[in-house]
């Protein structure tokens, strides 16, 4: 029964990590500078899942569950926005007057956030069911 709790917990952790990436994408959708103040637009992050849980203790726990295999960074998710007055706009060349900004669609991120929240809730329900079964089994000893 502890195994099924591990599995549901792995699902919750994965969905929470995904939600963190989505929150970072939304929070940085207008970020065009890096921490050093250079023009380097924020790149969209995406959590990629794979079955199995490498952190599980038991062999069966390793086979079941889910984990975040990778947080991918989409280096191409940059678009040009015309802002001639912006001090960070290109000063010359074919893109003169344009500013590179993150190509993040808030609608897509919101939909992904809703899906992550619902999947998280489903894992909580599964964990609740496992807890009830565990309590039921323990009552046999009482």
């Amino acid at each position: 029964m502890y195994g099924s709790l591990d599995i549901s917990t792995s699902g919750m952790i994965a969905q929470r990590t995904r939600m963190t990436a989505i929150a970072a994408n939304l929070a940085n959708r207008d970020t065009i500078l890096d921490t050093d103040g250079n023009v380097n637009p924020y790149k969209r992050r995406q959590a990629l899942f794979a079955p199995g849980n490498p952190n599980a203790v038991s062999g069966q726990g390793k086979a079941l569950g889910v984990h975040v295999r990778q947080i991918s960074i989409n280096e191409d998710a940059v678009r040009l926005k015309l802002e001639p007055g912006n001090p960070h706009a290109y000063k010359s060349g074919p893109n003169e007057g344009y500013v590179p900004v993150p190509d993040i669609d808030p609608v897509v991120e919101q939909v992904n956030a809703m899906e992550a929240a619902r999947a998280y809730e489903a894992n909580v329900s599964a964990a609740d069911a496992s807890k009830a079964m565990l309590a039921q089994a323990l009552r046999l000893l009482a």
């Binding site: 599995i7 549901s8 699902g11 899942f49 489903a122 329900s125 079964m133």
Partner: protein, 147 residues
């Protein structure tokens, strides 16, 4: 047959024990399916309770044929998707049906079906557990000669 084994292998106790083991194992599969609701290419897996019920009915019938009553260990057929290991625990070889996949990420999970199976499995476990508790209480009362 030792005295203790004679008690634990009598009546409905072995069938209830196996039922609880099956529900606990199936709970892992269902939790796995729910944990992978949004994993690309994931195909959910499950064990059909009807297979278990058929195997259990077969084992009960064979025990009846062999011992003529309700005593003795359950002669479980070690074949099909449900086998027992050395500890008596059920090892399920899960089925992963290939449903038509509509979703773009090739994941064929069905949340509603998963939650339904989860609720049914929890109810099955609860029923087995309540019956097991009833049986064990009866044994305790018999030992205390208060029946």
């Amino acid at each position: 047959m030792s005295g203790l084994a004679g008690i634990t292998n009598s009546g409905a106790l072995p069938t209830l024990e196996l039922s609880m083991r099956f529900a606990a194992q199936r709970q892992r599969l269902l939790a796995h399916n729910i944990a992978n609701l949004t994993t690309p290419e994931f195909q959910p897996m499950d064990a059909d309770p009807r297979d278990f019920q058929r195997a259990l009915a077969d084992a009960v019938q064979r025990r009846r044929d062999e011992t003529g009553g309700q005593r003795g260990p359950l002669p479980w057929r070690e074949e099909g998707p449900l086998r027992r290991d050395a500890r008596g625990d059920l090892r399920i070889d899960p089925d992963s049906p290939k449903h038509a996949v509509l979703r773009h990420d090739r994941n064929s999970s069905d949340l509603e079906r998963s939650m339904q199976a989860l609720a049914e499995n929890a109810a099955f476990f609860r029923l087995s557990s309540d019956l097991m508790r009833f049986e064990s209480d009866r044994l305790v009362r018999a030992m205390r000669e208060t029946v």
